[in-house]
């Protein structure tokens, strides 16, 4: 290809439904590579739905359907022929509630690599250590890698889940309100981590926390009732937004 695209994911005229309910209404936006993009908006506005289409997690919801165009590089994200297993390896996801498997800390991080790669014991150990270091949780767990992951605190569990997602070698990290169940100190740790990771990964974060969006992201999209009202640099959105609705929302007048 002649000119390398600077966009990781491109949506144009994307519509999505749950049964008869239209959750997304002709969405067009480009997620830039190696930047942090924040999705903000009131509950039920479609931001999580869009995020879950990025790696086809909506396949688990029977009534979910979509039309339009959604691409990751050459991959048509809406095609039923798309290899979702490979897609999800490339597009990792971290959920709202930390969901470590009821296994050891080590086994949690080793889960993805074991699925996708053939590694010997030391290679696997090195990869797990690398992922845990990247997710800034290594120092806290290095002496108890065989302890149950569910014994960790909520913030540690969420960083473990980020390590687990990183360990499969994704290009894109989707984060669906990753800090909504965490205390401020853990939230800060995750935000620092996102700052660390932004140079190597494309990050898309859904958040209800305005400060978080303004602190961590380069670009922000404001969603309302299934539409993208405004998509711009984070600074612009939070200082001089074009749309009245955006301004009302970021100023805390509704939502």
């Amino acid at each position: 290809m002649a000119n390398q695209s600077t966009n990781a994911i491109e949506a144009s005229n994307l519509n999505a439904w749950y049964g008869d309910f239209q959750a997304l209404n002709s969405i067009s936006l480009q997620i830039p590579k190696n930047e942090v993009t924040a999705f903000i908006g009131p509950s039920g506005c479609g931001k999580s739905t869009l995020l879950r289409w990025f790696n086809r997690m909506n396949d688990t919801i029977h009534s979910a359907s979509a039309t339009g165009d959604l691409r990751l590089g050459d991959i048509d994200l809406l095609s039923s022929a798309t290899d979702v297993v490979d897609l999800r390896r490339r597009v990792g996801i971290v959920f709202q509630k930390a969901n470590p498997f009821p296994k050891s800390i080590f086994e949690n991080v080793a889960f993805g690599p074991r699925l996708h790669m053939k590694l010997n014991k030391t290679e696997l150990q090195d990869l797990v250590e690398w992922a845990l270091r990247k997710a800034a949780v290594w120092e806290e767990v290095k002496d108890r890698l065989n302890a149950p992951a569910l014994g960790l605190s909520g913030g540690q569990q969420q960083r473990l889940c980020i390590a687990r997602a990183i360990a499969t070698g994704p290009e894109i990290l989707l984060m669906d309100e990753p800090c909504s169940a965490l205390d401020p100190a853990s939230t800060l740790a995750i935000e620092d981590l996102m700052d660390e990771l932004r140079s190597q990964y494309t990050i898309v974060i859904v958040t209800h926390n305005m400060q978080q969006a303004s602190r961590c992201s380069d670009k922000t999209a404001f969603f309302f009732e299934g539409k993208v009202i405004e998509f711009n640099s984070t600074e612009k959105i939070f200082t001089t937004p074009n749309a009245k609705q955006t301004e009302d929302y970021v100023r805390g007048k509704f939502g």
Binding site: H62, I93, N99, F101, F111
Partner: protein, 326 residues
């Protein structure tokens, strides 16, 4: 969004005064509350004690009658525990070797579990993880109907259908045989295993499934590597309950397995299980109050000890494999 000047609304005012009068109704008095609390407490304790009483009296009867059995001259503990010859109805000398019955019970239970456990688990996995909702809603009630069929029907089914089929496949099968009874007990236990294992799988939070899928796992990866291990304690409970049910099952073995106690591993043979023997004795075709009559209690007590051991083992295993999520 409230208006600055509220216009008085007559229905609202009426409702307001009605609520006021209702709130002035006399409240229930603390003394009465406390009295009924005590009453409920006593009633609950009585219910708990009643179940305890039943258990204790059954064990008491078993113990005393078993003791009487061992007081007969022709009965020795070494014969009871050390022999596989169970011939209480034949002429002298009688032999009371419990292993002749235990082996029959184990053979039938083994056949039943070899059938019911794998099939039940695989069906549970299909229903919980793979089946579309409509199929699941259709199949689960059918399974529950299967669990509600009286066991005597299974017994006749074994005798009239399974046995002829087995004999058609292979001539060596006796009219009464362990295989036929074992398969029928397996069919009986299958819905129990399936239903309980399915409940255990369903109780694993969806977030764990999503986690496994989100890492690029297939549905099979998610099921085998995450869901099954997480549901293991519930699945083991389901298995143990099925084993206990198979060991205690009576009508099927009484009808289809025969009445000739022998220590054999050949499923084509006629055998007798512990429960089968007890039915034969309690059915009354032997002289009451002879040695063979009291042997029934010794067999019952042995059966009780086996199921007790199974239950305790179940608790240990469950505690060992308990993986909590949350």
């Amino acid at each position: 969004m409230s208006q600055p000047v509220a216009v008085p609304d007559p229905t609202k005012i009426a409702l307001e005064s009605r609520a006021k009068s209702l709130l002035n109704r006399p409240r229930r008095r603390l003394a009465a509350t406390r009295f009924s609390e005590i009453g409920i407490y006593v009633a609950l304790i009585c219910c708990g004690l009643f179940s305890l009483l039943i258990t204790v009296s059954i064990i008491g009867v078993l113990l005393t009658e078993t003791t009487r059995f061992f007081q007969f001259d022709e009965v020795t503990l070494s014969n009871f525990l050390g022999s596989a010859e169970w011939t209480p109805n034949l002429g002298e000398p009688k032999s009371f070797g419990i292993w002749g019955l235990i082996s029959g019970t184990l053979l039938v239970t083994g056949i039943a579990m070899a059938f019911a456990l794998p099939l039940g688990l695989v069906t549970a996995i299909y229903l919980s993880e793979y089946a579309p909702r409509q199929i699941r809603n259709f199949l689960k009630p059918i399974l529950e109907v299967l669990a509600g069929i009286p066991t005597v029907v299974y017994g006749f089914f074994a005798l009239m259908t399974i046995t002829p089929f087995l004999q058609w496949v292979h001539e060596g099968f006796n009219v009464y045989n362990a295989m036929s009874a074992g398969l029928a007990v397996g069919i009986l236990c299958f819905p129990t295993v399936c239903s309980l294992a399915e409940d255990a799988l369903q109780s694993v939070p969806k977030t764990l499934r999503d986690g496994a899928l989100g890492l690029g796992g297939t549905r099979f990866d998610a099921t085998v590597k995450v869901i099954l291990p997480a549901a293991l304690s519930g699945i083991i409970s389901a298995f143990l309950l099925a084993v206990a049910r198979a060991i205690g099952e009576t009508m099927i073995v009484a009808l289809a397995a025969g009445s000739r106690p022998q220590a054999t591993l050949d499923p084509r043979n006629e055998i007798q299980t512990m429960t089968g023997f007890m039915v034969q004795m309690a059915g009354g075709d032997v002289s009451n109050f002879g040695t063979e009559y009291f042997s029934m209690y010794a067999v019952a007590f042995t059966l009780f000890l086996i199921t007790l051991a199974l239950t305790m083992m179940g608790n240990v295993v469950r505690g060992r494999f308990r993986e909590t999520y949350e």
